[in-house]
């Protein structure tokens, strides 16, 4: 992966809202052709990390680089012009506009003919074609998520940021959204996505980052994280994972010193070795969590 072009880089980023600092020394990379997943407990700062790319919060330190261009603290309307499209976690469609109008708004900054692109989007999301004349707010949750993604894809972005695209959806829709993410990726768009649904997300991810308390905690290939027992206990315990993370383990974890190193080196080797072996906080509810962490073997992607 290191030979792939670096699309997005967050380097030692600190940032937050107003006076409150949320992110501390965040490092992240997305390369051409990758799906990168961010997981972590509620309130860990996953959405905030994503917003930092999009100029939605004040970065006090570090930098954000897109395709070699420094876009640190660039306002969102400019970031869009740089080819980054972002689907927020909530309020990500215009409910009173029709499905088709939502897609048109997605193409707002395009001055060329975007009809063919819209056709492609409708092919990717067939249910949207049938409902194209309906106000998007009347659609089901899954279909609204499709509208949100379709709207973002209208620009044929350099990179797509998705914040919990499957949150609150039925399992059927969740799988469908993951399928679509794979398809979009197969068409060559790198994707950075936050997911609660860690198991499914890591399964399709090239790499994953675990954020805890606003800091990088683990970082490895998707497969390696899936195989890592610690990560497994924390986030992948089937139905339990969701329950645990909903209970805000972030606070419990807050006290632990964070991985001193997770400076992501561009080489996967460095990555898999470094991040993974921090002892877990004692406070986490599940007793099994305290068992010795094992090194993730790098299951080369």
């Amino acid at each position: 992966m290191s030979e792939k072009k670096l699309v997005l880089l967050l380097e030692n980023v600190d940032g937050g809202y107003g006076d409150s600092q949320i992110l501390t020394d965040i490092n992240m990379e997305v390369h051409q052709g990758e799906i990168v997943v961010i997981i972590g407990p509620n309130g860990a700062g996953k959405s905030t990390a994503m917003k930092s790319v999009f100029g939605l919060l004040n970065l006090t330190k570090g930098k954000v680089v897109l395709n070699g261009k420094d876009i640190t603290n660039m306002p969102p309307e400019k970031v869009v012009h740089e080819g980054v499209c972002y689907v927020p976690q909530t309020a990500n469609i215009f409910p009173s506009l029709t499905v088709q109008e939502n897609l048109e708004m997605g193409a707002f900054i395009r001055n060329d003919d975007f009809k063919p692109r819209m056709q492609e989007i409708f092919e990717l999301f067939p249910p949207l074609y049938e409902k194209r004349a309906q106000p998007a707010g009347t659609l089901s949750g899954g279909q609204r998520q499709m509208v949100a993604m379709g709207k973002a894809l209208m620009l044929e972005p350099q990179i797509l940021l998705l914040d919990e695209p499957t949150a609150g959806l039925s399992p059927l829709y969740q799988s469908e959204i993951f399928e679509i993410v794979k398809q979009v990726h197969a068409h060559g768009t790198p994707i950075l996505m936050v997911e609660q649904n860690a198991k499914q997300a890591l399964a399709i991810a090239d790499r994953g980052y675990v954020l805890v308390d606003g800091k990088n905690k683990y970082h490895d290939t998707g497969a390696a994280l899936l195989a890592d027992p610690e990560v497994g206990e924390m986030f992948l315990g089937g139905g339990k994972a969701a329950t645990i993370s909903k209970r805000k383990p972030a606070t419990a974890n807050a006290k632990t010193k964070t991985t001193p190193k997770s400076k992501s080196k561009t080489t996967s080797k460095a990555n898999s070795k470094s991040g993974i072996k921090k002892p877990l906080p004692k406070k986490v509810k599940d007793p099994s969590l305290k068992k010795k962490s094992t090194t993730t073997k790098k299951s080369g992607a």
Partner: protein
């Protein structure tokens, strides 16, 4: 029956048309710029005075003067936005409300200073009502008002439904934050909002002047019913504002009909209270209005 239609329903409709045109601007600024614009009435007043000036200086027909007055008022609205509202773009909306209140007072003084406080008129004198079906009577100026409103509403409908900027306006009324994330040119949308809101307010002012007369507080006096119309329709919903305006106009007039006995149900002097009552009831019972608008 015909008396009811001729003297209550039609005047209510006329009033409703004027409210509707004014309320569209209020609801758009409310939805897109997120503040209650107290100076909106002054856009009406100044539009009427622009038309009066054109009519009295050049002997123009009021209907010819109307589009020019609309353009001039839109220009004024853009200027006010540039110098008084834009600096507050990221401030809490209460600051904008207070700014608009100040602009309202300033504009009233400027209007009084420029044109004097004397009542003026631009209507083409007494006209004989046109009789339809023997009993139905409607005066030509009322026909003009209804026709102008229909044309303007159609234009607004076209803009909002079929143009890129119009769709972006509705998008921004839905969610300004998402509009920004989507790359929508929000400043451009805001300018269009002022052009449409200011222009329609001026049209409402000219039509009111044609119906009655030109005076310095004419817009201010309609502010309350226009707000009531915007709230009744649902904040940020232009079609709601149109419906709300018509409903409130008609309701105000119908309340003066002698429904019980021979006395008006509500003395005409108090009919402004009807709009107020409707507004309060809506805010309590269904704050999102008839068309599911924003709730603040």
């Amino acid at each position: 029956m015909f008396e009811f239609i001729n003297f209550y329903f039609i005047p209510g409709l006329i009033l409703g048309c004027i409210y509707a045109l004014g309320a569209i601007g209020i609801t758009l600024t409310f939805g897109i710029l997120r503040f209650a614009n107290f100076s909106h009435g002054e856009n009406m007043t100044i539009g009427a005075y622009f038309a009066y000036t054109l009519v009295s200086l050049f002997g123009m027909h009021p209907l010819l003067a109307m589009p020019i007055a609309m353009a001039l008022t839109a220009f004024v609205a853009l200027g006010v936005d540039r110098y008084f509202y834009r600096p507050f773009r990221s401030s809490p909306s209460i600051m904008l409300v207070m700014a608009s209140f100040g602009i309202m007072l300033m504009a009233q003084s400027i209007i009084q200073f420029t044109w004097g406080t004397q009542v003026k008129t631009i209507s083409p004198g007494i006209q004989r009502p046109i009789k339809l079906f023997d009993y139905l009577m409607i005066s030509p100026k009322h026909l003009i008002i209804i026709a102008c409103t229909l044309v303007l509403v159609f234009i607004v409908h076209y803009l909002l439904t079929y143009t890129k900027t119009g769709k972006a306006m509705r998008a921004m009324a839905d969610s300004p934050e998402l509009a920004r994330l989507t790359g929508i040119n929000t400043e451009g949308v805001i300018r269009t909002t002022w052009i449409i809101g200011g222009g329609l307010a001026a049209a409402a002012g000219v039509l009111l002047a044609i119906d009655t007369q030109v005076q310095t507080l004419m817009g201010f006096q309609l502010l309350l019913p226009m707000f009531a119309a915007a709230i009744l329709g649902g904040i940020g919903k232009p079609y709601g504002a149109i419906a709300g305006g018509l409903i409130i106009g008609v309701a105000e007039e119908l309340c003066t009909y002698p429904w019980i006995g021979t006395e008006p149900l509500i003395a005409p002097n108090y009919k402004a209270g009807v709009a107020f009552a409707i507004m309060v009831i809506m805010l309590i019972w269904r704050p999102s209005g008839l068309f599911k608008g924003k709730v603040f």
